[in-house]
Symmetry: C2
Subunit: 194 residues, 2 copies
């Protein structure tokens, strides 16, 4: 099957990209990891750029499917945040290489080539989803009102996604368990109440 082989190659490419960084990775390293020669990759893909492109779009497509389902569920602000965080950690579990690449290279890629304009779109759309929910929570009296909401947004967003830099699937905690603890910290803090 043709698509199957492409998928395998994209998976190994994603691992190498995530481990070394996009620019530091040569097509020969990817080919090595796949057990073939550099030129042979070009039978399957147009270019090195096309590989990251496909890796990132596949991840973002699945991410939006999950997020849209959450946002359409009509949950309250707090439950929406909980569901988004949980969904994010599931995505990190399934696409941890792609998430790491997105985290590290999105800005550079978006600046470099109009081909990656959808990365900037994704960033804006993500901001709207999170910020909107936070604002709704503040209005509803669920979240604190004394915080700069943009700072809060970046705080929540970053705490979730940087986890991709250290998370490895199949480790001690499941995505749901990590989400539970992260949510507990973000919502209630790490200090002990009296």
């Amino acid at each position: 099957m043709r698509e199957e082989r492409r998928g395998e190659l994209l998976a190994t490419a994603a691992e190498v990209f995530a481990a070394q960084g996009y620019n530091a990775t040569t097509v020969r390293q990817i080919a090595d990891a796949a057990g073939m020669l550099a030129g042979s990759l070009y039978y399957h893909f147009d270019s090195k750029e096309a590989m990251v492109d496909e890796i990132l779009t596949a991840f973002l497509d699945e991410l939006w499917a999950g997020y849209d389902a959450v946002l359409a569920a009509g949950l309250g602000p707090r439950e929406t945040i909980e569901a988004l965080v949980t969904e994010s950690f599931r995505e990190i579990d399934r696409h941890h290489a792609a998430v790491a690449i997105y985290q590290k290279e999105a800005r550079y890629l978006a600046d470099r080539h109009p081909r990656f304009g959808y990365l900037a779109d994704a960033r804006r759309r993500l901001a709207r989803a999170w910020l909107g929910t936070l604002e709704r929570g503040v209005a509803d009296g669920v979240f604190r009102t004394d915080l700069d909401i943009r700072l809060t947004y970046r705080f929540v967003r970053d705490t979730v996604w940087v986890a991709a830099s250290w998370y490895r699937p199949g480790a001690r905690h499941s995505p749901e368990e990590i989400a539970r603890q992260y949510l507990s910290m973000v919502l209630d803090g790490i200090a002990l109440r009296d």
Copy 2:
């Protein structure tokens, strides 16, 4: 003055590295930004690697000076965390380019060349400082006991340092103000108490 010019060049190099990534940055781009030709950089520095090296060591030296002062002050766990976070944001304010580089490239550089072994040392030492304080806080009944402490550590560490990716000196909030809000979120959470 010789050292002065080196400092200027390192500052512009740090900006380019932070903006584009270490590997994506060519010595010709650095030279362009400095208003000279690529080869002329080699009058001041041995190599491109030597430049990042000097940028990172300068930052880490100053960071440890600040951290050691905090750790030697004999504060309680909560006050130590507060002081470390505040000190970190001050460091991000002063060395935001170096911090961004450290965040993005430390792992790759440490793996690549024994020259950057001190980066792995720094990571271990950082972990000891934060984890030790957190453990002390749990033992003292200042922090919650129901959380995985290694997860808590990564949570606190990441929330602080990723700020370097979006923070620009001279923006709306001072480092101290950002530290105050971050600490408020980390310690008490973003949910409203009833």
